[in-house]
């Protein structure tokens, strides 16, 4: 059986790919039989066997690898010599195909491959493949093949698999999952409406049905979200080549390390991070990593290292791109920002964290020259916008001579999220549950001295932060305590908590794309739009945290 890589995820991909290849072989052999010297058919068949051999090798299915290798050899011979495929050859290959299918089924069922006697088939294939053994008397294949019975491989009648069987794994266009998610979102909206009707109704039957529907939709949501999850490895496959090419072009030496490839994220989140990652890795090689001579002078190894890592944190993931290059020159950054129109006094008020985020200003570049890779000051702007659109947060850390880290904290899945519905003034807003520590009821006069876990909590009215006049004389308010990165716990005071729900998050499109403090919106059953808050951005409104009352 397989070794290290043989876990269920790789196995599923292996099985899916192998099923497709085996179907291709079947079709190809039949084509070859009709046209025994068709070079295109032979090439196609060769590629199918070659791929199966490669996949088996990666998965550690040695017996299957050797077996497909023998068949590949035969095809290779036909390809090189231009000799026609004989009926006997096709029949042997078809029998071998049946054996390959049997092996695939055994892998699917978790059974050992050792029980299949392949020796007679391999012997026959090798006889065909060895040039001295090919006799001219054999007639080219024509008409219906009489495939050797699988019993030749030692199978009993009882074990004979069905002639037609469908694979258990299906390949479907990714858009199908987007559509399923959208439909689930619509179901959630309708459910929200039904819940309202149910709450006002006296009918026990209606309440039970709504409850049952709620459970089913939740199950559906969970299955679809699970199906959309892909490993981080799918996102970083192309990065080593980018690092290599830019290093060569810039006479630099750099290697890429990838960590956390097994972390799984929603396809939509991964997709949105594709461009930002390319920009960040390009920037790291182009601007971060120094030339070997400069690195040596700084006491570093000639080869720089760029690390791209992904780390799971409950419902969130942190993607970090770090280089061990020269770091960002804060003074140069301030100069460039001033040239771009940022007032000196504003720059003086900013802490290091805020200053470093200036690299995301559109048009700002610390590069001395514009290359085809970077230097136009658009890359980090793209990164910031993509992170914002995904409902994440961006932090830049840098130390002179030690390097730079760009840290993106993102939701694992951006499409459907659990949100707490709260009331600010007359309006309803949604706060992602993932960022909430606790909700407490507090008297207005106790707000200033509010403590949580022994720490003082800085509280601000949500309505005030959102720019609405929400003061309504209410004595007791709810405070939603948020565990915010880097700023400690903060609280948002709201006029009421309406409950928790699974919300289908719709992205903010123009003209709402730049509305501050919100990450998306959802539509309630009654058509009411509810903004989903970007609490990190709201908190940063007052300079890295919320000020006290």
């Amino acid at each position: 059986m397989g070794r290290g890589m043989d876990d269920s995820r790789y196995k599923a991909i292996f099985l899916q790919e192998t099923h497709e290849r085996l179907s291709g072989i079947e079709k190809g052999l039949l084509e070859l039989e009709s046209n025994p010297q068709d070079p295109a058919a032979i090439d196609k068949l060769f590629r199918h066997y070659h791929s199966i051999k490669g996949m088996c090798s990666s998965m550690g299915y040695e017996a299957m690898k050797e077996f497909s290798h023998a068949q590949e050899d035969l095809l290779n011979r036909l390809r090189k010599t231009g000799e026609p495929a004989t009926t006997q050859m096709i029949s042997t290959l078809l029998s071998s195909l049946d054996a390959l299918k049997d092996m695939t089924r055994r892998i699917e069922d978790g059974l050992p491959l050792e029980g299949i006697p392949l020796a007679p088939l391999i012997k026959k294939i090798k006889e065909f493949a060895a040039p001295e053994k090919i006799t001219r008397e054999e007639t080219p294949a024509r008409g219906t093949p009489s495939a050797l019975p699988l019993a030749q491989g030692g199978q009993t009648e009882k074990e004979t698999p069905p002639l037609i069987s469908l694979p258990n794994i299906m390949k479907v266009p990714a858009g199908v999952f987007d559509e399923l998610l959208r439909i689930t979102g619509d179901l959630l909206t309708t459910l929200s409406s039904l819940k309202g009707v149910s709450a006002r109704s006296m009918s026990i039957e209606l309440k039970e049905k709504v409850h049952s529907l709620d459970n089913s939709i939740e199950e559906l949501r969970s299955e679809i979200l699970g199906a959309r999850m892909l490993p981080f490895s799918t996102l970083v496959e192309g990065l080593p080549r980018i690092v290599r090419d830019i290093s060569v072009k810039n006479a630099k030496e750099a290697e890429l390390k990838v960590e956390g490839i097994e972390e799984r994220l929603d396809r939509g989140v991964l997709e949105s991070m594709a461009d930002p990652l390319v920009h960040l890795v390009r920037n790291a090689v182009d601007h971060g990593i120094e030339t070997p001579s400069i690195r040596r002078l700084a006491g570093k190894t000639a080869k720089g290292t760029i690390t791209v890592g992904c780390e799971g944190k409950k419902e969130k993931v942190v993607i970090r791109v770090t280089d061990d290059g020269g770091g960002i020159d804060l003074n140069k950054l301030k100069e460039k920002a001033q040239e771009m129109g940022v007032a000196k006094e504003n720059l003086e008020r900013m802490d290091e964290k805020e200053l470093l985020l200036l690299v995301c200003m559109p048009g700002l570049s610390l590069s001395l020259s514009v290359t085809d890779v970077s230097g136009r000051g658009v890359g980090m702007d793209i990164v910031r916008n993509a992170v914002k659109k995904s409902g994440g947060t961006l932090v830049v850390e840098s130390s002179p001579e030690r390097g730079t880290s760009v840290i993106m904290e993102l939701p694992r899945s951006s499409s459907i999220a659990r949100v707490l519905l709260v009331r600010a003034g007359q309006e309803v807003m949604g706060i992602p549950v993932a960022g909430i520590e606790k909700v407490v009821e507090v008297k207005k006069e106790d707000m200033a001295g509010l403590k949580y876990g022994g720490e003082n909590i800085r509280v601000k009215r949500l309505g005030e932060l959102m720019g609405m006049d929400s003061e309504n004389g209410q004595d007791v308010l709810n405070v939603v305590i948020l565990g915010d990165r880097g700023t400690g716990e903060c609280g948002l005071a709201v006029e009421g908590v309406l409950g928790e729900m699974s919300a289908y998050m719709r992205p903010l499109a123009p003209p709402f794309s730049s509305v501050r403090g919100v990450t998306g919106f959802t539509v309630m059953g009654d058509g009411r739009p509810v903004f989903i808050l970007d609490t990190a951005q709201l908190l940063s409104r007052t300079g890295g945290g919320i000020s006290g009352q």
């Binding site: 619509d186 959102m466 499109a509 058509g527 903004f531």
Partner: protein, 153 residues
């Protein structure tokens, strides 16, 4: 000019080509949007899409009536007729009062004279059958809305 819609705002007549009109809806409430300020009244959802609603009174008149209807959250209460105008992906809600909207058919525009005098939110003026109306520039209003909503970002 093809068919159109004619509005009257504080005595001023405004005209919008019917091909720019997606539909006319009636809503009980226009909801709050962070960063809103006149002429942005708020938002509504229309076929799952969020649409910004602007007050024509605020754009083309003094807007005093709109102000009087304001609530604590700054939203308008009560039924409101909204013309959804669309150009490609850009949708905009024009808040009007039903009694002030009338359809104009192609024939009404016979002998129409169009004077291209672009204003901030106007493409020019049209004169037909003794009526003078300003041609609404939806794109200019849309850009203004975008600018307002991104100003606090």
């Amino acid at each position: 000019m093809e068919d159109g819609l004619l509005f009257e705002v504080e005595g001023k007549r405004l005209c919008l080509e019917l091909k720019s009109v997606e539909c006319v809806v009636e809503r009980e409430k226009v909801f709050f949007v962070p960063g809103k300020r006149p002429p942005v009244e708020g938002i509504i959802t229309h076929r799952g899409e969020m649409v910004a609603v602007v007050s024509l009174e605020r754009i083309y008149g003094t807007g005093e009536t709109g102000e009087a209807r304001g609530t604590s959250g700054g939203n308008d209460e009560g039924p409101c007729t909204i013309v959804i105008a669309r150009e490609g992906a850009r949708a905009l809600g024009l808040s009007v009062k039903r009694k002030r909207v009338s359809f104009l058919w192609k024939e009404d525009f016979e002998n129409m004279r169009f004077r291209a005098q672009p204003g901030r939110f106007s493409k020019g003026s049209i004169e037909f059958g003794g009526i003078l109306a300003e041609a609404i520039d939806c794109l200019a209003i849309y850009n203004e809305v975008s600018s307002i909503l991104s100003q606090n970002s």
